[in-house]
Amino acid sequence: MQGPSDFELSRRKILLGTAASVAFGVAPRIADAQTPAVPVQAGAAPAISMSKVSFSVNGKPREIALDTRTTLLDALREHLHLTGSKKGCDHGQCGACTVIVGGRRINSCLTLAVMHEGDEIKTIEGLGTPENLHPMQAAFVKHDGYQCGYCTPGQICSAVAVLDEIKAGIPSHVSADLNAPAQLTNAELRERMSGNICRCGAYSNIAEAITEVAGRQA
């Protein structure tokens, strides 16, 4: 959990960052309002900053040398060819890239790979295989909790992590009593899963799949 002092710190960082970008930014014309302002470095080709990073993915140690700008998502998809984690937006808005790091779900597009030195990363490929499905994967198949399949790995990783969060007693926005043990109610489930967009609209079926697995686990 983030403490108040962490928040202060990160807020200051954000403010500093904003000031810096204003200082360097080229004042955009209205017509260019949507084009990111970029410092112009005439003729100077910025050098690429490379770094090695080691982490474990689905229980296997991996060491790769990466452009430090590489997100964890692109490290998985483009460098390790673990393409189960999807890029739906690259901006932390859709949840298709959800992976489980150190037991907690994160949007892997919003974090740089080099920030994960030593971390234990679990992706959809680490949950089960077509021949040996994880119970959550099997429940999604049974309840048709997907259509096009593109958000599905993220939904499943999120769902697995949600059940662990509830078990760990972590409250959500809709928890009525922050001191009582978290319950897997419909409202809790839907609230906690709302970071994972499914444009095909399989929500009703996804909820049934998760509820079934939760019941089995209970």
Partner: protein, 734 residues
């Protein structure tokens, strides 16, 4: 096989496998992340470089100059393609705007360059270094201000103007009249998988591993745009991460990957960046609609008129919002009119149920309003004005029309009788509660579709067709069809889709994919059965295919034996005669929605949803139900939140990402009920099935709107229905 007379009994009617709720055969791949989508095909070609697309920062005007110097010098950059060095490019037949703009710019975020580099990060960084000097021109961006200048424009469903009887006189003479104006906003497909393509050249042959709904259309389009022979273009699209009409036509990813690969002399992969997609690709255009209904005091419609205005780029198409009004309700005097204004916004084009989706949003509020004026129950008003024939051509019946049964069944299951017709009277704690209903209607479209079916000596049946599965369940219903026809279990069928090397199918669009593609597989299987029977010495008319055997009389032979000395293969297509001319083929449904509206804040929550549909034979109730509840979800989005907000000064959609373009999330959608009426339609195809995927979205938003009205007494005719539009008129909560 030509389908010219109504279907009689055929092997599909056994319904051993077809019609069963089997789980998707591609489910284990999709749920484990092993289904390969376009951008992920590391295995198909080596040495893939990365493309990053640059979009125009103006909506209309010209590029005076582009400075590529810094970008070219950036690390890892292999090539930059702009209109200056792309070579001669034609415009596709199916797109209105060019996929690569410059020097002329047709819309905001029209692609103007692709930067190809060794890595994604390098391509992205270099793209930021491109400097463009524009000469912007004033464009037209406000539909509402251009209604007088809009011109008649035909739509897919018919001419710009239709008229039967004397609408004007009979509307004027009607004792009860409604004349109301509605608006629907621009909407985005926002499918989860961004448009993506890997392109590779081998001499003058181009392969595109892409994400596309209509393989044959796009093979032809890409050939036309690039000035190539079609046989030199191959598309492969086995998994498509959603389309909803947004992947019907080629997009900039495919063209720029091809051009980038040619320039860089190596394979290139391009995905449209999410924030680019909303202005770069197509969208469902906004409409302004006027609906007039005249009726007798006892509720018989005597005159019904529907006019719609929408906008598009020069040379574009109008939204077909009036289409269903020609067919849905009776009434002797009728008119529709479609007008198109020229706008310089991004290209408007097909999105899930183009026409009916927007038209039903307005019409089904109008019908609710009219029922209230008449003092009638809105469902009884609809049933009273039901018609079993095409209202414009009474000699032409509907092949099947169970709209009334949908409403009756739904009303009972949903508890419609408990609805208080007086709005704003039902409270549940802080919530004002209301229920609303609306009809669902979408035409069934017939289009030819081919497939190839092979039998090997292990008894495995392999189906190949360029049909796509965009989440619709094509893999599964095609496998079910082949299994039923050849008398083998589902596990013995392999389905290969989405490759332009396969026979040309109906493709995925207009809810025509399911019925037509399986009918094509049926045709090919009929041919394969004949070949098998001949090979094994059976009379093909008498041979029964069941349990992996071919049987006739006392004789039974394993199916695989027909392929003992090499595989057997058959290819055929389904083509259609004039049954669709003689019989109007449509799909029907009834939507029921309960909402709660916060009495103080006017926050709207959907509490219950039910759809009852009649859409011919349901080939797989599990996947068909998913199509309908998914469409209901998109309908809730259309009702309550989805709107591309137009910046009318500079001409672009402001909320161009998934944070600002709001679509329904888990918390917005309750448990959804869905029920199919028993129906087979022998006029549609040997499968006796019809479309269902788009039926589900038609009318949902109006059912939500009618429920909001029932809850609050506030009638909102301007979608989306957001709380700011309710607040001022909310009932006094005391």
């Amino acid at each position: 096989m030509k389908f010219e007379s109504p279907a009689t009994t055929n092997p599909i009617d056994q319904l051993k496998i077809v019609g069963q709720s089997v789980s998707r055969i591609d489910g284990p791949l999709k749920t484990t992340g092993t289904a390969p989508y376009a951008y992920e095909r590391h295995d198909v070609v080596a040495n893939q470089a990365y493309g990053y697309v640059v979009g125009s920062a103006i909506a209309k005007g010209r590029i005076k100059s582009i400075d590529l110097g810094a970008a070219k010098a950036a690390p890892g950059v292999l090539a930059i393609v702009t209109a200056d060095n792309a070579g001669k490019l034609d415009k596709g037949r199916l797109n209105t705007a060019k996929l690569l703009g410059g020097p002329e710019i047709q819309h905001y975020h029209q692609a103007i360059a692709v930067v190809v580099a060794e890595t994604f990060e390098q391509a992205r960084a270099a793209a930021q270094l491109i400097r463009v000097d524009y000469a912007a021109e004033q464009g037209a961006f406000d539909l509402a201000s251009l209604l007088d200048k809009a011109k008649p424009n035909p739509i897919t469903a018919g001419p710009a103007d239709t008229a039967v009887g004397d609408f004007a006189a009979n509307f004027a003479a009607a004792p009860v009249r409604l004349d109301a104006r509605y608006s629907t906003p621009d909407e985005a497909h926002a499918m989860m998988e961004p448009h993506a393509t890997i392109a590779a050249w081998e001499g003058d042959k181009l392969t595109l591993w892409t994400s596309n709904q209509m393989i044959a259309w796009n093979k032809a389009e890409m050939a036309k745009i690039l000035g190539m022979r079609a046989e030199n273009v191959r598309l492969d699209s086995p998994f498509v991460g959603g389309g909803f009409g947004g992947k019907l036509f080629p997009r900039a990813d495919a063209l720029l990957a091809a051009l980038g690969a040619r320039a860089a002399k190596r394979p290139v992969k391009v995905a449209l960046q999410r924030p680019l997609m909303f202005n770069n690709t197509t969208h469902r255009p906004a409409t302004i609609q006027r609906i007039r209904i005249g009726a007798t005091r006892d509720g018989k419609i005597t005159a019904i008129g529907h006019e719609s205005w929408s906008g598009d780029l020069p040379g574009g198409k109008a939204d077909g919002a009036v289409a269903q009004t020609r067919l849905l309700y009776a009434g002797a005097h009728r008119m529709t009119a479609t007008r198109l204004a020229t706008l310089d916004l991004p290209e408007g084009n097909a999105m899930r149920a183009p026409g009916e989706a927007t038209g039903m949003m307005a019409l089904e509020i109008a019908v609710d309003e009219m029922a209230e004026k008449l003092g009638m129950d809105p469902i009884e008003f609809r049933i009273l004005n039901d018609t079993q024939v095409d209202p414009e051509k009474p000699e032409r019946p509907f092949s099947q029309r169970q709209l009334t049964e949908c409403f009756r069944t739904g009303a009972e299951r949903f508890g419609w009788s408990k609805r208080n017709p007086q709005p704003g009277r039902v409270r549940d704690g802080r919530w004002l509660v209301g229920i609303g209903a609306a009809a669902a209607f979408r035409n069934n479209l017939l289009t030819k579709s081919a497939a190839r079916v092979r039998l090997d000596n292990g008894g495995i049946v392999t189906v190949e067709t360029d049909m796509t599965d965009i989440g619709t369940g094509s893999y599964t219903i095609i496998a079910q069809t082949a299994a039923e026809m050849m008398g083998v279990p589902l596990e013995k069928v392999k389905v290969r889709l989405g490759d332009s090397a396969f026979p040309v199918s109906a493709g995925s669009g207009g809810q025509w994919g399911g019925n037509n593609s399986t009918a094509g597989v049926y045709a090919a299987c009929v041919k394969l059965r004949e070949a098998v029977a001949q090979k094994l010495g059976f009379n093909s008319a008498e041979a029964e295919f069941a349990d992996g055997e071919v049987r006739s009389g006392n004789r039974r032979v394993p199916l695989a034996q027909a392929a003992a000395d090499g595989g057997l293969s058959a290819e055929d297509e389904i083509e259609y005669g004039d049954l669709a001319k003689k019989y109007q083929q449509s799909t029907f449904g009834a939507h029921f929605v309960e909402v709660g509206v916060d009495a103080a804040t006017a926050e709207i929550r959907v509490r219950r949803m039910l759809a009852v549909c009649a859409a011919g034979r349901i080939l797989n109730p599990k996947t068909a139900r998913s199509q309908v509840i998914g469409a209901m979800t998109m309908g809730v989005g259309a009702a309550l939140m989805e709107e591309l907000v137009v910046d009318k000064r500079t001409g672009f959609f402001v909320n161009h990402d998934l944070a600002a373009y709001e679509v329904p999330v888990h918390a917005d959608i309750p448990h959804q009920e869905m029920f199919f009426l028993d129906e087979t339609d022998p006029m549609s195809s040997p499968m006796k099935a019809k479309g269902v995927a788009e039926l589900g979205i038609c009318g949902v938003a109006a059912a939500v709107a009618n429920a909001v009205y029932n809850a609050t007494g506030v009638r909102v005719r301007d979608y989306p229905i957001t709380l700011d539009k309710l607040l001022e008129q909310m009932p006094d909560v005391g």
